[in-house]
């Protein structure tokens, strides 16, 4: 029973990383540049899915409204770009700031604003638990969805078009390959951050809450504030993903907040493996690739996805990551 030099888990992760790093040159060599933007999308949704897994898989909060933060992050980028091209000042802000195209400013703003939304929504939703929590997060996301539809300044239902991607020091984000590597870097950075987080004291509190919140309180933990903090961190992560999504498609619309989007992110987490940090990445890749492949055969591809989903829930609980990485696949 010697421990192998390279565990199965390390092998899966190493291969995955090499594949992601090598993707753009391979795609370009094959003259399939389309793959770069497809995989940028995958990386972005992976970021959103990892952030959802923080609250879903580690803290045990089943939120069906995570798309709200994705949308808020995207709208921050969209609104800043809108005012820049329009020349008009941003409403409700002191001074006459007419927006920005700088990625560093816009993405930071996206993270902060979505964290703020997560703080408010989380503070209210946390008063409930179980199925009430699922429904109230869903309802809050719908509330934001309708709010942005009613914002006629920013295109209402049709949303906002970005004239160009944000500007980034030393890099041209308009170039798909550069943008891909920025997305990859941010995803890896976020996963590393989460890896530290889930094994820290704070992370242990989150996991304790998932398993037995009553016991946590009886031990003296004021669980509300820790779970709320976790919700805010997850919201901030999704906000960053939203900012990237806005840049990727150069377009922002309320559709990002529609509850089916939240459902898709949740599917990515479960499909890939809940309660792991790498599972959601695999889940995002699997879902978006499946969508891409199936959609090339039939426009009614969801008629296949639906039953697949039911099958996964009923029979394949450990997700793709659990399947690939084996029994030792759980992080921490």
């Amino acid at each position: 029973m010697d421990k192998p030099v390279v565990t199965r888990k390390a092998l899966v992760l190493g291969l995955g990383l090499v594949l992601l790093l090598a993707l753009p040159p391979i795609a370009l060599a094959m003259d399939e540049g389309f793959f770069i933007s497809l995989f940028s999308r995958i990386l972005i949704y992976a970021l959103a899915a990892v952030s959802l897994d923080l609250i879903l898989g580690y803290a045990g909060m089943a939120s069906l409204g995570h798309g709200a933060f994705l949308g808020v992050g995207a709208y921050v980028v969209g609104i800043l770009a809108f005012h820049l091209s329009d020349g008009s000042p941003l409403p409700f802000l002191p001074g006459a700031w007419a927006g920005t195209a700088s990625a560093l400013i816009a993405w930071t703003a996206a993270i902060l604003v979505s964290a703020l939304f997560a703080l408010v929504i989380g503070a209210l939703s946390q008063r409930t638990s179980g199925v009430y929590f699922i429904m109230i997060t869903l309802a809050f996301a719908q509330m934001l969805y309708f709010f942005f539809i009613s914002l006629s300044t920013y295109g209402g239902q049709d949303g906002v078009n970005l004239e160009q991607r944000n500007t980034f020091p030393l890099l041209d984000l308009g170039d798909d390959t550069s943008f891909y590597y920025v997305c990859l870097g941010l995803l890896l950075g976020f996963v590393f951050l989460c890896k530290r987080l889930v094994n820290s004291r704070f992370g242990m509190v989150m996991r304790g809450c998932k398993q037995n919140e009553t016991r946590m309180r009886a031990l003296g933990f004021a669980t509300y504030r820790y779970k709320l903090m976790c919700f805010v961190i997850a919201g901030a992560g999704a906000g960053l993903a939203g900012a990237l999504a806005a840049n990727q498609s150069e377009f922002v619309s309320p559709g990002l907040m529609h509850w089916t989007r939240s459902g898709e992110i949740m599917i990515m987490v479960i499909l890939g493996g809940m309660g792991t940090l790498f599972g959601p990445i695999l889940g995002a890749a699997a879902l978006l690739l499946m969508e891409d492949v199936l959609a090339s055969y039939t426009e009614h591809w969801m008629i296949i996805l639906g039953p697949v989903l039911i099958f996964v829930v009923l029979f394949a609980r450990r997700g793709i990551y659990g399947f690939l990485a084996g029994p030792g696949g759980r992080d921490g």
């Binding site: 530290r196 987080l197 094994n199 820290s200 004291r201 704070f202 992370g203 242990m204 509190v205 996991r207 304790g208 398993q211 037995n212 009553t214 016991r215 946590m216 309180r217 009886a218 031990l219 003296g220 933990f221 004021a222 669980t223 820790y226 903090m229 921490g332």
Partner: protein, 252 residues
């Protein structure tokens, strides 16, 4: 400042109703520092309801709870726990997906604070792990330190839960039927673990096993239909005719 003779826990006129049922019908009792105070009574006497109000999981309809000189009646569970009020549950309440050691480490961490520490690895943090191992040793569970708590035997889980309550360094321990579901062998081991605590930790003990109660308790309160009918030393409780009629007489 309160006088040194003031009890650690002072419960005054606690009332709690569920519809027409009065689960606590004006309960007054106290626990002195270092004392093991047992609460006994037939099923449905309101013992668990009493514990739940003391720990803060249920709000009483009337009366007040003074703990360590402070009125804690309106205080939430977590704050009472941080003041030094620990409890165990009648139905085992642990973290099934943590190892036994990590269960204890959670309890230790509660006393350490810094729960908003996001970066440093908690699983190798000696400030959490060393006292946790010590706590496991106290209940003779060090052999299973790295087993998943959910996979331990029932008796071991009960011991683990007790160890968690102790690891928070409580001033008062509320034990809700620690022997529930245990065989005679496991019961004996649990008693052996509890006995050395006598005089060092104050305990309010709810228990059905009379052998355990009479072996451990300094004083006993008998609760019948939400009302305390007597509080006295074990010997006198045994001799009390009211108690015999109301309670002891019923049990074989």
């Amino acid at each position: 400042m309160d006088s040194p003779a003031a009890p650690l826990l002072d419960v005054q006129g606690l009332v709690k109703s569920f519809g027409a049922l009065r689960a606590s019908d004006g309960i007054s009792l106290d626990v002195r520092a270092g004392e093991i105070h047992a609460v006994i009574g037939p099923n449905g006497a309101g013992k668990t309801t009493l514990i739940n109000q003391l720990s803060g999981e249920m709000a009483p309809d009337g009366g007040q709870i003074l703990f360590d000189g402070m009125n804690v009646t309106a205080m939430d569970v977590a704050r009472r726990a941080r003041m030094g009020l620990a409890r165990s549950y009648q139905i085992t309440s642990i973290f099934p997906e943590f190892t036994a050691l990590e269960n204890l480490a959670m309890a230790v961490q509660s006393g350490l604070g810094h729960h908003f520490r996001f970066w440093r690895n908690a699983k190798t943090d000696p400030a959490r792990i060393a006292p946790a191992m010590e706590g496991l040793r106290r209940v003779e569970l060090e052999a299973v330190a790295h087993s998943m708590a959910g996979e331990l035997a029932h008796g071991q889980q009960r011991q683990l839960e007790l160890a968690m309550a102790l690891a928070t360094g409580p001033k008062l321990l509320l034990l809700d039927e620690p022997m529930a579901g245990m065989g005679p062998e496991e019961s004996r081991r649990m008693t052996d673990i509890l006995l050395p605590l006598k005089g060092r930790v104050s305990i309010l003990l709810v228990e059905h096993d009379m052998d355990v109660v009479f072996a451990l308790a300094d004083r006993i309160t008998v609760l019948v239909l939400g009302k305390p009918i007597a509080t006295d030393t074990p010997a006198r409780i045994r001799a009390n005719p009211d108690v015999r009629a109301a309670y002891l007489g019923e049990s074989p």
